[in-house]
């Protein structure tokens, strides 16, 4: 007899994982407290973090650091906002991923999902730099399948490009994280060109990732809703839609043809919808988007999409159909979002009835291409 300890993953390994596939998970989250970043942060912003570190922390919600501001709807015990499941070390992450049947995980932050909400560009840039140093020092030191996405502060694209070039050659830096929650302007704005130039030059993919917030920029002006049910759906899904539209407007995928662009934490069903809407509109308004030389869907088919939070129709065959509408067999990548409240266990994605080849693509091969990762020795 052995006692089950506090891990909710223990003994719950994926049931139908193909034995020969080493799974890549393109979205897992490390918990970076303000206190943890203090030694990595430059002055005077280190002083700010010393103040912030004393502020009581809620789940993905810290004033001056991760201002979610979604405090208008009633909480319930053990609901999404009260649960606080976090991973605070690489060794804990390794253990959790082992129990999830995952070989490689790409680290994204917890609180810095809200980085773009910070309005002081120098402060935001300093926090981003501190996070990147912390990520490299505390999480990416070993050859154990823990990879990282360095954060690009949207408030200072030139500094973001410097960060990209600084860390691109690190063997465990696998991607560039573009904070998409509350970002303004949206990611098609020309001011972000230095980020895309650096990403294309260093052959690192960019991954857009949002989170829930109520904030006076589109699509986070969610005071019109009364529940987290609505706010969560809009914050993630419509942020991806808005940023994709913005990037199309200025021809980012045409102007940076080797740039690999990924979209995270919005599921998959939105992709065929916006792809078809763009194609429809483009036929009438092509001259507004002279950078494109083909239908927007042609570019969408070159982009990458993470599964989580996967839609869960009663018949998961519908997800196979949805993927087929945008060539997802070659662009969808498994993501768990571990350890967040809405994480997907590999079991769910394994319920999608696709060919073995497509399953293998989703679990590994598409991410290998997106991250440009060589096979692990």
């Amino acid at each position: 007899m052995s006692e089950i300890r506090d891990s909710t993953l223990e003994g719950r390994a994926p049931k139908k994982l193909p034995k020969d596939v080493k799974v890549i998970d393109v979205d897992v989250h490390a918990h970076e407290t303000p206190a943890a970043l203090i030694p990595h942060c430059e002055l005077p912003w280190r002083k700010s973090l010393e103040v912030v570190s004393k502020v009581p922390e809620r789940y993905l919600d810290i004033p001056f650091f991760a201002p979610q501001m979604a405090v208008w709807s009633p909480p319930f015990p053990q609901s999404g906002s009260e649960r606080r499941q976090i991973v605070t070390s690489a060794s804990q992450m390794r253990q959790d991923l082992d129990q999830l049947g995952i070989d490689v995980g790409v680290i994204f932050p917890d609180n810095l999902l809200l980085l773009a909400a910070l309005r002081d560009a120098d402060y935001a840039t300093a926090i981003a730099r501190a996070y990147n140093r912390w990520l490299i020092d505390e999480w990416l030191g070993e050859d154990n399948g823990i990879k990282g996405a360095i954060v690009a502060p949207s408030q200072n694209p030139v500094a973001a490009a410097e960060e990209i070039r600084r860390y691109a050659s690190h063997k465990h830096v696998a991607a560039i994280y573009l904070p998409s929650c509350c970002v303004e302007p949206l990611y098609g704005h020309r001011s972000y060109d230095p980020i895309y130039e650096a990403a294309q030059e260093t052959d690192l993919p960019v991954m857009l990732h949002s989170v829930t917030a109520i904030f006076p920029v589109f699509p986070f002006n969610l005071n019109c809703f009364s529940t987290m049910f609505s706010a969560h759906i809009v914050s993630h899904g419509l942020s991806m839609v808005a940023n994709l539209l913005s990037m199309m407007e200025t021809g980012v995928p045409a102007r940076y043809p080797k740039l690999r662009i990924g979209f995270s934490e919005s599921g998959l069903a939105w992709v065929p919808w916006i792809m078809m809407r763009m194609d429809k509109e483009y036929k009438e308004r092509r001259r507004e988007l002279p950078f494109l030389t083909d239908l927007p869907s042609t570019y969408v088919r070159q982009m990458f999409f993470a599964t989580q939070p996967i839609e869960e129709p009663e018949n998961m065959k519908e997800m196979a159909t949805i993927m087929s509408l945008f060539g997802g067999e070659h662009s969808v990548m498994f993501a768990s979002d571990w350890p967040h409240h809405d994480f997907d266990h590999p079991n769910k994605v394994l319920q999608i009835p696709v060919s073995q080849e497509t399953q293998r693509n989703i679990l590994r091969e598409n991410a290998l291409r997106f991250l440009n990762m060589k096979e692990r020795a």
């Binding site: 021809g251 036929k283 092509r286 002279p290 083909d294």
Partner: protein, 120 residues
């Protein structure tokens, strides 16, 4: 077998103009683009709109070679469908928004100052 139809006298179709005609039970457009003649069916492949009843125009392009600067190009070479403003290359019939699709082009000849369109 293609049949040839006289559609206009050259004096009636100066450079930069076009005409929409009913020929052989179909609507076609005949164009004079900088002294050369072209003809297209007046059927937009989008929603079967009367393509050639639209305006002749130029278009906007942006390329790496031009520093991604939107540039007005090909004035007089583009026909725009009056229904949903879908653009077509008068010379090749190519759809600008959907470059893998095109409408047919008809062969045009000038014999004794008569513009003749060959319709299959």
């Amino acid at each position: 077998m293609a049949a040839e139809y006289v559609v206009a006298h050259v004096d009636d179709l100066p450079s930069g103009t076009h005409k929409v005609l009913q020929v052989a039970a179909r609507e076609i457009g005949v164009f004079n683009v900088a002294g050369r003649y072209y003809a297209l069916p007046s059927n937009c492949l989008h929603q079967n709109g009367p393509l050639c009843r639209g305006s002749v125009s130029g278009t906007v392009e942006a390329s790496a070679e031009a520093g991604w600067k939107p540039t007005w190009v090909r004035e007089g070479e583009i026909i725009i469908c009056p229904w949903h403003t879908m653009e077509f290359d008068i010379i090749t019939g190519r759809c600008l928004a959907e470059p893998r699709r095109r409408i047919p082009t008809y062969e045009v000849t000038v014999v004794n100052s008569e513009i003749r369109v060959s319709i299959p």
